[in-house]
């Protein structure tokens, strides 16, 4: 089983959002860490967050709640949080909990980055 990992890509002034990569299993056990990191980034001025889920193999409802909490923190900091590259299992849980009716998801990072307002 791949343990959960969360990494923040180095800042790139040319990019519209801060890129966060998650890998492994995002579940009840790992969601507190994910939530804390996302909230920390949003509160720390990163504002726009783009979460790359291409290496995330599993997510449960607690994991999804962590993403929603991160989204909430980003919006309250005046920014946004978007999700890209969902694995089929992740996409399925996403649809099952109707989050697909709330969040836009992007098939690749380029499309996701283009969706953020420029100049932030």
């Amino acid at each position: 089983m791949i343990p959960f990992r969360i990494e923040v890509e180095a800042e790139d002034p040319g990019r519209a959002a801060t890129v966060v990569r998650m890998a492994g299993r995002l579940n009840a056990a790992s969601s507190p860490e994910a939530k804390a990191r996302l909230k920390g980034l949003a509160g720390g001025g990163a504002k726009h967050l783009l979460v790359d889920l291409s290496e995330l193999s599993f997510i449960d409802s607690s994991g999804l709640s962590a993403l929603v909490a991160g989204y909430k923190a980003a919006v309250e900091a005046g920014g946004n949080l978007k999700l890209a590259c969902l694995d089929p299992q992740v996409r399925e849980v996403f649809a099952l909990t109707h989050l697909d009716r709330v969040f836009e998801t992007y098939p690749d990072m380029a499309a996701a980055l283009a969706s953020f307002p420029p100049g932030n």
Binding site: A28, E76, H98, L99, V102, E104
Partner: protein, 619 residues
């Protein structure tokens, strides 16, 4: 007094011979009762209405119809009870114990926390959820080495949602796979998780509820606290329909289930709020007073943007995309010269549920009875539930009438709130049996109106001679008596020998409270989550029972008045007066229990003994 390790072990029994016999007997009696009820009520509609007192006739008929429906729902509840065997424990799964407290004394929380720490389970983490943020409780948690959780900064200036909010806050801070919820006074037995965890081996089961049992019920149960009928036959009956309720404490819940229904409800609420904001935005544009060209252009642009956003929602675009498009359109509209009107700049804050401290609420916050609302959400999302009928925790019931009434009022109002805000009658996803079980519980809280009629009818006849039926004659008795007797018999059989007498007295006697509960919700007067005091409040509570006292006095006066009339020869309807005097006496008898409870003081030297977990299970 309750002690641990009682000799019998009810959960090991499955459908025993006596269970089967009782079920058969119940079905026979219930069927006969329903047949008799149908005959009686049909006759009442067809042939008994008193045309010279039409309003009163119809009122009584409506009340009796309600009573018949209630009996049908009760029969259905008890039709196929399920007695479960505790499955083998699900070893090794992590459990968080939540002890919810707000203002209970430290001594009460301590007993529960110590017992929780002694639960025979690993991995186990015990957390005190102190909504009162008190120093002594924090010190207690430190001393015992258990977790201590209070609300964080994010709750400042936001709705707290009482116990539901307290639990949702803790769900965010913990990560156990299962959650055992305990009220501050519910002292768990060490074996509680060994007994309950096995149910969650079935991945479809969201929670298993065990009984609440009270060790401080005074002799004779003056406040009607004993809940053995509910946490026995009634819950087994609901379980038979896969509709066991979550009752707020002594239940083991699956975190995944809570979070999943929390997400579903989050998505639903976010969409509702987005729609509401679009409506607000349109109104804002319509109302703006300035009327120059720039303003008109701005208004048109806003209207067009709202139209487009609504079209997006209809198409099923994600809310985030709708919000982005709207934000963009509004920015363009405002960029036009001269348009200085501020706009909401997108709907992200609705989607992020910025008004709430927690976006995803595992426990429902729509009602002051969060437990029932949560179970309803779980059942509607296809989750199953279980009831384990063995007592595994021992707690405190209210020790005075005032606290007892406040608790009942909250239950009643919360339940009726659920009907109005998330009606089990129309909610998608519930199976018919589950719908019926929720409706049966909600319906029972409307009994106050029927009982008001039952209390008034004899008064009106005894004072004024106005009868709500054409005649009390043989036709009436031939139909009424079989129904009445069979109905009593049905309730008796269903109770399985448990005392039901006090509960019935409270059901009738508290009719003013039930009416108050319904009217409070209907008129939208604010309902607060009141924490039921766990210690006896001093004083007498006659003011709380003034309606009951009034009815008793009036009934006695009415009987005296009518009998005097008979003696003086001014009244002649002996049978009518006798029946109504009997009816009035029955009402007085039921109401008197509540009045007695208002002035009740426990017997000299009576002191409840808290069970101590180590005592019988130490070895």
């Amino acid at each position: 007094m309750a002690t641990f390790g009682s000799s019998s072990d009810p959960s090991r029994q499955i459908m025993t011979q006596s269970d089967r016999r009782r079920r058969l007997l119940f079905r026979a009696v219930a069927t006969a009762n329903l047949a008799a009820g149908l005959v009686y009520i049909a006759w009442r509609y067809a042939a008994s209405i008193n045309p010279s007192a039409l309003a009163l006739s119809l009122l009584l008929l409506a009340a009796e119809t309600y009573g018949t429906i209630d009996a049908v729902l009760y029969a259905l509840t008890m039709w196929k009870p399920r007695r479960r065997v505790a499955p083998p424990p699900l070893e090794g799964r992590s459990v968080d114990v939540f002890i919810t407290t707000y203002n209970e004394p430290e001594g009460i929380v301590r007993r529960t926390a110590e017992a929780a720490m002694a639960i025979d389970w690993s991995p186990l983490s015990v957390h005190i959820l102190d909504d009162g943020a008190r120093a002594d409780i924090r010190a207690l948690a430190e001393e015992l080495g258990c977790g201590y959780i209070t609300r964080g900064e994010e709750w400042k200036g936001r709705a707290r949602h009482a116990k539901a909010g307290n639990v949702n806050n803790a769900l965010n801070e913990t990560d156990g796979e299962f959650i055992l919820i305990l009220d501050a006074d519910q002292i768990p037995e060490p074996r509680i998780l060994s007994r309950l965890s096995g149910y969650l081996a079935d991945p479809r089961i969201a929670f298993v509820q065990s009984p609440q049992s009270f060790y401080n019920v005074p002799p004779g149960d003056p406040f009607g606290s004993d809940a053995a009928l509910f946490y026995g036959p009634i819950m087994r009956g609901k379980d038979g329909w896969n509709a066991a309720f979550f009752c707020g404490s002594n239940a083991l819940l699956r975190r995944e289930a809570l979070m999943q229904v929390g997400l579903l409800s989050y998505a639903e609420t976010a969409e509702r709020e987005v729609r509401a904001s679009l409506g607000d935005l349109r109104r804002q544009a319509r109302r703006s007073l300035r009327d120059d060209a720039a303003q008109r252009a701005w208004k048109d642009a806003v209207r067009a943007a709202v139209r487009e956003a609504r079209a997006g929602l209809r198409r099923g675009d994600p809310l985030q995309a709708v919000s982005d498009a709207l934000g963009e359109a509004l920015r363009e509209a405002s960029a036009g010269k001269g348009a200085g009107k501020p706009t909401t700049g997108g709907l992200d804050r609705d989607i992020a549920r910025s008004r709430e401290a927690v976006a995803v609420e595992g426990v429902s916050t729509i009602s002051v009875t969060e437990d029932m609302a949560t179970a309803l959400r779980l059942h509607a999302s296809g989750w199953d539930s279980a009831f384990h009928s063995e007592v595994l925790a021992h707690g405190l019931a209210p020790e005075d009438l005032g606290s007892s009434l406040a608790q009942r009022l909250r239950w009643a109002q919360g339940t009726i709130q659920v009907l109005f805000r998330d009606s089990p009658l129309s909610k998608k996803g519930l199976r018919p049996g589950q719908r019926l079980m929720y409706f049966a519980t909600i319906n029972s809280y409307f009994s106050g109106f029927a009982n008001l009629v039952f209390v008034l009818c004899p008064l009106i006849f005894l004072f004024f001679g106005i009868a709500p039926v054409r005649a009390w004659n043989l036709d009436f008795f031939l139909r009424f008596i079989p129904f009445f007797v069979l109905n009593r018999l049905m309730f008796l059989v269903a109770a399985e020998g448990l005392p039901v007498h006090r509960g019935e007295q409270y059901n009738l006697g508290l009719f003013p409270l039930w009416i108050q509960a319904v009217l409070g919700v209907v008129t939208g007067r604010e309902i607060r989550f009141t924490v039921t005091p766990k210690t006896r409040q001093s004083g007498r509570f006659l003011a709380s029972v003034k309606v009951q006292i009034g009815v008793i006095v009036l009934t006695v006066a009415a009987i005296a008045y009518a009998v005097t009339g008979l003696v003086l020869g001014t009244r002649t309807n002996l049978l009518g007066i006798a029946i109504n005097a009997f009816w009035g006496c029955y009402n007085v008898y039921q109401l008197a229990a509540i009045v007695r409870a208002a002035v009740y003081t426990p017997p000299e030297g009576w002191a409840p003994q808290a069970p101590s977990p180590g005592r019988d299970q130490g070895a």
